[in-house]
């Protein structure tokens, strides 16, 4: 089993790395498109700005490799920015994105009493049917830090909701690809459990 963690210069991968080590996962961090195509599983993390991230993905041909990997049907986990740039586009700098899942990453509206970024622990509401949430109670708290959120067009792609001003989609899933807006690697035991569920998955 080889798990590739995509390194595309979008933020610090150290916390993903320490969490995976803690779970004794066999993984490697790479920015090599060939290695990504050959991986058994893919983790696509990232924090930062959508346009800058897409520029790097394009210049390194990682955009094509990630798209081809997705088409292979093997397990794919997106985290944070990785849950936004898998969509068609992002409102952040009006960026065209990978288009793996139909939808848009939207900015939180301005509203009195609500700070942006949405930063801290918030509840993830789920119906328990998705494999990533096996053993995780409904409304367990996860750590978020983001100003944009994924808005997939298809209702059935919405796996979990979280409330901050509005009810937004905090986990989306289509076929072999599941992506979370929060940071499982920084969300204590339930975050580790979610990562473990991904490591244990035998494909969809």
């Amino acid at each position: 089993m080889s798990i590739a963690v995509v390194d595309y210069n979008a933020g610090n991968l150290r916390s993903v790395e320490t969490a995976l080590k803690h779970l004794r996962a066999e993984f490697f961090i790479t920015s090599d498109p060939d290695k990504i195509l050959k991986a058994d599983k893919l983790i696509f993390p990232g924090v930062g700005e959508a346009r800058a991230a897409m520029k790097v993905l394009h210049e390194t041909n990682l955009d094509q490799a990630i798209t081809d990997y997705y088409k292979s049907g093997r397990p794919f986990l997106g985290i944070c920015l990785g849950s936004q740039i898998i969509l068609d586009s992002s409102e952040e700098s009006r960026t065209a994105c990978l288009g793996l899942i139909p939808g848009v990453a939207r900015r939180f509206p301005r509203q009195a009493g609500y700070k942006v970024p949405h930063m801290g622990w918030n509840q993830v509401l789920h119906n328990g049917s998705h494999y990533l949430f096996k053993g995780i109670p409904d409304a367990a708290s996860f750590y978020f830090v983001h100003s944009y959120y994924p808005d997939p067009y298809e209702q059935k792609a919405r796996i979990t909701d979280t409330e901050y001003m509005i009810k937004f989609c905090s986990t989306l899933s289509v076929n072999n690809l599941t992506a979370v807006q929060f940071h499982p690697e920084k969300s204590g035991k339930y975050g580790l459990k979610l990562l473990q569920n991904f490591l244990a998955a035998r494909g969809i």
């Binding site: 610090n12 150290r14 916390s15 930063m119 801290g120 918030n122 750590y143 901050y164 920084k186 035991k189």
Partner: protein, 256 residues
């Protein structure tokens, strides 16, 4: 619903956790990695480490502490204390910290915030600010630096807004008047900032009783409360604090 965060602060000197009163008298209270692990298991939402080692050569000890903490806890933590360059920020982040906190060095060189935010992301850059009540300032609070010893010409509210514009993702607001007194947070300046700036504000300095934490959430609308002595010396447990807040309708993380 977004929960109110309880953040525990650990002052680290030469690789050991210490605690001082009003930046004086420091006593050794334990190994920072063990303490981090303990508080993580007790359900703390976040940790802050301040490196109060004065010299640059001892900075390596702190980086080692950060790396070992990162291997042991899976919640966010920030590191501050004397960070004055992008390369120092990078070292701390690569060692596994989620955020870096800049204070006096950002006053001396505000571009540190801007450069840090553009390189590492806004969410990584925390502005720590120490303030003293001063009626001659527009907001009635003056920014002080170097552990509260040196007054600046900066008004607290103006500096907070400037830092937000420069790209800070969060502010840790420490009242020098209240720090170490255990008589409660400085609610007036905390409320002023939470109402006037658009990024999260962490209240710091003065917590001694559980009611103080409730007050800073209900009366000053802080996004998070920073505590130290009240848990370091075993006066209260995190469970006591969170259960009291929960009973008083403050959303907190209880299942961890």
């Amino acid at each position: 619903m977004l929960e109110k965060r309880i953040i525990i602060c650990l002052d680290v000197r030469n690789g050991r956790t210490t605690k001082g009163i009003k930046f004086k008298e420091n006593i050794d209270i334990g190994d920072p990695v063990e303490m981090a692990r303990f508080y993580y298991e007790q359900g703390v939402d976040e940790l802050v480490f301040y490196d109060i080692t004065a010299s640059a050569e001892k900075r390596k000890i702190m980086i080692d502490v950060v790396a070992r903490v990162a291997e042991n806890i899976f919640i966010p933590f920030s590191v501050g204390g004397g960070i004055g360059s992008i390369s120092e920020m990078r070292k701390v982040l690569l060692a596994g910290a989620e955020k870096v906190s800049v204070n006096s060095q950002a006053v001396r060189n505000p571009s540190l915030i801007e450069e840090g935010a553009s390189l590492f992301g806004q969410q990584c850059i925390v502005l720590g600010m120490d303030v003293l009540q001063d009626d001659s300032m527009p907001s009635n609070y003056r920014v002080v630096i170097d552990g509260g010893r040196i007054p600046t010409e900066l008004d607290a509210l103006a500096w907070a807004k400037q830092a937000e514009n420069l790209g800070a993702g969060e502010i840790v607001l420490n009242s020098i008047d209240a720090d170490g007194t255990q008589e409660g947070y400085e609610l007036t300046v905390t409320r002023l900032l939470t109402e006037q700036v658009g990024i999260p504000v962490v209240a710091s300095g003065g917590a001694g009783k559980i009611e103080h934490i409730l007050d800073v959430f209900t009366k000053a609308h802080a996004d998070a409360a920073l505590i130290a002595s009240m848990v370091h010396f075993g006066t209260f447990t995190l469970a006591q604090i969170k259960s009291f807040l929960h009973k008083n309708q403050i959303p907190v993380r209880l299942d961890f």
